[in-house]
Symmetry: C2
Subunit: 634 residues, 2 copies
């Protein structure tokens, strides 16, 4: 492993225990002369090279053939034309004749042209020239990943109950609705461990408050849920509402804990509560203060949180909205021609998450005033870190579940992530699968996607197929957006099929949790692309729709609507375990090679590797009821 320093990098604390700086010039990458960027690196790719990495991003397990940017984005449209999602995970691994990993540690914007402009060229360009570059050469992909993971430190360990099934909706509006959803699961015998609260549990979307009308009996609700072995998991947003008399805001304002504009005034942005301030998560004192905010809910017995809107998402800034309003007024009072009309549309489309807004406020980081865009990609990381550090201070004995929308490498030590506001699209089921190993490489082990899809309307068959993948991901959550079809599994004709699949999840938890713990303890992966485990097998290296999960099993989910079977490639002899719901109905030994495997709706196939075993628990309605000692080995 070699560490190179260019310029004066802003410390990200992604790496805590740094190797010595390499004195000689970098040789693993060419420094390119590209006038558009202050610093660019290049590498030639051969046709055989696969480029893994980038954690949370669009497209394939093999990232070749696209331009990716590290620029945390609040963008719910995860289509093939996008270049970023909510995170910046600047680690890539070039796998071919050699195995070389590169980590570009900088909180600024990075562009990864991985065979986009030229299929045989990798070009990494930095918007700011200050960066630490780590180069890791190894004998295998897994070697390189292992070294990288050791470098960035142990991944967050979620409690066992966080491997249960969770139900969410934007939003369950009252405590009675929460009770009703739980009751419907319990009555139907659908296992459940978590019930998530989206933004409407709060009073006017104010952090660390409760809606006094709709969640007046919150303490009682928590107690009832506990009795039913249900963990309530509320959302926490990054922005703090500007409201006189709102304690948390007043405290932040008084102490100067909010991000400031260039004149030193609190920078006002619009998010769910309306006008808000952004806590300066990068400031040590402010971070401690924000973390202490969670005490309000910890004191009520809450032991799980999800942090949202922490790219940070800005619907508008007050300043920019004022300017736009004035512009529009002038424009609309005149005669609008077609160019005026498109100018008008363009202005409006850029009100939210506006580039200029991100350049208009400042942090106080380690005593330095830093403009936000220079450290943009750290915001969600440091918000989540503030909470994690608070949990250790405030409830050191409590195991707390936490995951975040935005992240940067380093945050993996403090929490998991979910894959953001996806949609009820079959392509997003496949993207869910593809992101798992990419995230694992970058240290994010507790992760998963919103099953059934968050935006747009789901369908029954998509729900079934997505559950059939989701039973393998550490975070298994069904979540849907306001205005979309309700998708709790009891809403569907095929509830029994779905229930069976969720039951199978519980039978798998002992296997999954040990694979997860092993990946933490040994700094390795839980989800592997086939090519990392069978590197000599050229066919395995190209498989983008199957994964190895832990050391013992392989999965090959269906991700095509109306399919009743799919092709599966076995890099070695495996035993296909066929489950109908939670019940094992068939064991078939299949030889190495290509197979066309029947996979009707409601059936799940698990491929057990030759000489390996899968342990299965008995059914249970919650993780607390799982009998970890009474396992069947198949």
């Amino acid at each position: 492993m070699k560490r190179y320093v260019f310029g004066t990098p802003i410390e990200t604390e992604a790496v805590l225990d740094k190797p010595q700086v390499e004195e000689s010039a970098i040789t693993a990458l060419r420094i390119l002369d590209d006038e558009r960027f202050p610093l660019s690196f290049g590498l030639d790719l051969s046709d055989e090279d696969i480029v893994y990495g980038l954690g949370e991003n669009v497209r394939g397990i093999n990232k070749r053939g696209w331009l990716y940017t590290s620029k945390n984005a609040d963008d719910p449209v995860h289509d093939e034309g996008k270049h970023s999602l909510y995170a910046s995970h600047n680690f890539i691994l070039v796998s071919g004749a050699k195995h070389v990993g590169f980590f570009f540690d900088t909180p600024g914007e990075v562009l990864f042209d991985i065979g986009y402009n030229h299929y045989d060229k990798l070009v990494v360009s930095l918007v700011d020239p200050d960066v630490e570059v780590y180069v890791i050469e190894g004998d295998s992909d897994l070697d390189v990943i292992h070294e990288f993971r050791k470098l960035i430190g142990k991944s967050y360990r979620a409690p066992k109950w966080a491997f249960g099934y969770g139900q969410c909706r934007w939003s369950y509006m009252t405590s009675d609705e929460v009770r009703d959803v739980v009751r419907k699961h319990r009555e139907a015998g659908i296992p459940l461990d978590m019930l998530y609260l989206d933004i409407d549990y709060m009073d006017s979307y104010k952090d660390f408050t409760l809606n006094p009308q709709t969640f007046a009996d919150f303490d009682q609700l928590v107690a009832e849920m506990k009795e039913q072995k249900i963990h309530l998991v509320p959302i926490i947003d990054a922005g703090v509402k500007v409201e006189e008399g709102y304690d948390f805001y007043e405290e932040g304002k008084k102490n100067g804990y909010f991000c400031k504009d260039e004149n030193g005034e609190d920078f006002i942005v619009g998010v769910w509560p309306g006008d808000c301030c952004l806590p300066d998560m990068l400031n040590d004192e402010a971070r401690e203060w924000f973390g202490n905010g969670y005490k309000f809910l910890l004191d009520k017995g809450i032991d799980g949180f999800w942090n949202d809107m922490n790219e940070p998402a800005l619907f508008y800034s007050k300043k920019h909205l004022g300017e736009v309003t004035a512009q529009l007024g002038a424009l609309l009072s005149g005669k609008l021609d077609i160019n005026g009309f498109f100018g008008f549309k363009d202005t409006l489309e850029h009100i939210s998450n506006n580039e200029e807004d991100y350049k208009s406020f400042y942090h106080n980081y380690k005593g330095q005033k830093l403009r936000h865009d220079k450290v943009h990609n750290l915001f969600g990381y440091y918000m989540t870190r503030s909470a994690s550090e608070a949990f250790k201070r405030l409830v050191p004995e409590r195991e707390v579940l936490m995951f975040s929308r935005s992240s940067y490498i380093g945050m993996h030590r403090y929490a998991g992530i979910w894959q953001g506001d996806n949609k009820s699209w079959w392509s997003h089921l496949l993207m869910n699968l593809k992101m798992m190993p990419s995230l694992n490489m970058c240290g994010f082990l507790y992760t998963g996607a919103d099953l059934g899809g968050f935006g747009d309307h789901t369908t029954e068959d998509l729900m079934i197929r997505w559950l059939s993948l989701g039973i393998f991901t550490p975070l298994m959550r069904n979540h849907s957006a306001l205005g979309t079809r309700f998708q709790e599994v009891y809403q569907f004709d095929a509830v029994e099929k779905m229930k069976g699949i969720i039951q199978l999840r519980y039978r798998l938890i002992p296997y999954l949790y040990q694979a997860y713990e092993k990946a933490i303890n040994e700094d390795t992966m839980m989800f592997y692309p086939l090519g990392m485990v069978f590197p000599e097998d050229e066919t395995a290296r190209r498989v983008e729709d199957q994964l190895l999960v832990g050391d013992d099993i392989m999965i090959a989910p269906v991700y095509e609507q109306n399919a009743v079977a799919r092709h599966v490639y076995l890099p070695e002899e495996m035993t296909c375990l066929r489950f109908r719901g939670a019940e094992l109905i068939e064991k078939t030994v299949l030889p190495q090679g290509h197979h066309y495997v029947e996979m009707p709706l409601g059936e799940v196939c698990i491929f057990v590797r030759n000489g390996h075993m899968l342990q299965l628990a008995e059914n249970a309605q919650s993780v607390a009821d799982l009998d970890w000692d009474n396992l069947t080995f198949v």
Copy 2:
């Protein structure tokens, strides 16, 4: 075949020679009692049933599991969440134990719930209760399709040269740029027959004009292109610019040929030229007049057109924009809270293609005043018909290429369609494939998608793979949008690979054109789902990513980035012909069953059916140079 009439349907002229009305009640469908709609039909589906049809729409060849609407839409985002594209093709075919086709002939909105709310229910709901329903039972899918196609009349026949390769861009801005693009193809030996002109060839986007600066030498350009065997194919938009002194507008205004508002005034909408009127394409006289407009270009030797923006697309209506402006002014002058902000965004998002606008103007159709939304889905059809009828009047001897963005069944007799403003997405390559048989069923044989993708940035590998599919589609056009990466094949490192693939297209034209002509003459398909040809083969019935093309060959394109091989299912023994570019490099007989076939970039595999042959021409630079008599039979 049975014809049922409900209410007083508006004549669409989709069917010219109608069978007698069935006197007895409809039995093939249940009439449902659904208070949301004035008329709904229902049918139970078994697990085995496949539902084909709906022509141009999203999702699979098998349409089960989604809600589709017939409501022609100007929407360039063809993602899985959409319910309509640019066309309404109300023909579906339920294929299982029985084979039954249903055509719902109405110009109004129709909803097809094909197993969306309940996977085992088909529900067709009509917003207006006036409809002619045709029920066609047959012994096979192809029987039903044949009967339906006979019912709706012979499909449009494109000239042979329209099977050449075409290059387009929004826009080539000058006649010299056009010359340059053609020269670069010719110099590199890349075959080319068509060069498309997007909106900038016009003077201020006015129909039937030329830009006097940038296309001053248009006559000379046409002559030069003719010499080079290139057909120039200009775009024609539906809206006519409001401008005093612009002859075509003045003529339309004087004669009352434009759509009117409720007060009988011309309804003003914003499209590319700014304020426009919409010709009343449904009015016989106006239709004749609009068609005569093409004379301006026909007289210059033009023999190809594409009709666009004919859903019709409305960026805004003048009336609605005025109202919005006033609302926004009031809103923005007050204190904007978060609800105000979202209301504001919502208002703005609905300025274009606004529902209320479509209810605010009127047609004069066969002497009847009809509100636009009642006949919305006919607009593009009648625009295109107006041109086709004009060609027959004005240049009866000339074979004219024409295709349209918007369509309805019936228009297939007058022109082809392209699959609209797709994007440079791998999923849209697959959608291109899936739409081919659906369109063929509905009579649309001359069709294809924008190769490489119109919106978003393409990649070299996507371009290669898309060309490898596009060589089989009658319309083979490379087209890209303003602001996206240039994607003429000479722009890429891999130009030689792309050139070879385009050369292979020319070698295939004799085969493709005979398959196309046969599909016209015999009222059958050119692109078949495997299940229609091998109905007893349950595996074939589920294949969604391979097609039979004509009677002799099967295709199985690669649609996954970085794939170097793919699974292919052969319903019978076939010979795999492997081409590297235009050269046949390998013939392999493969047995019936599943295969994993290597498909590196630049190679194309064609599977020839057992006992069949593929004829191949010699390479040529244009269709005019093709030697149709000197064919090699493989």
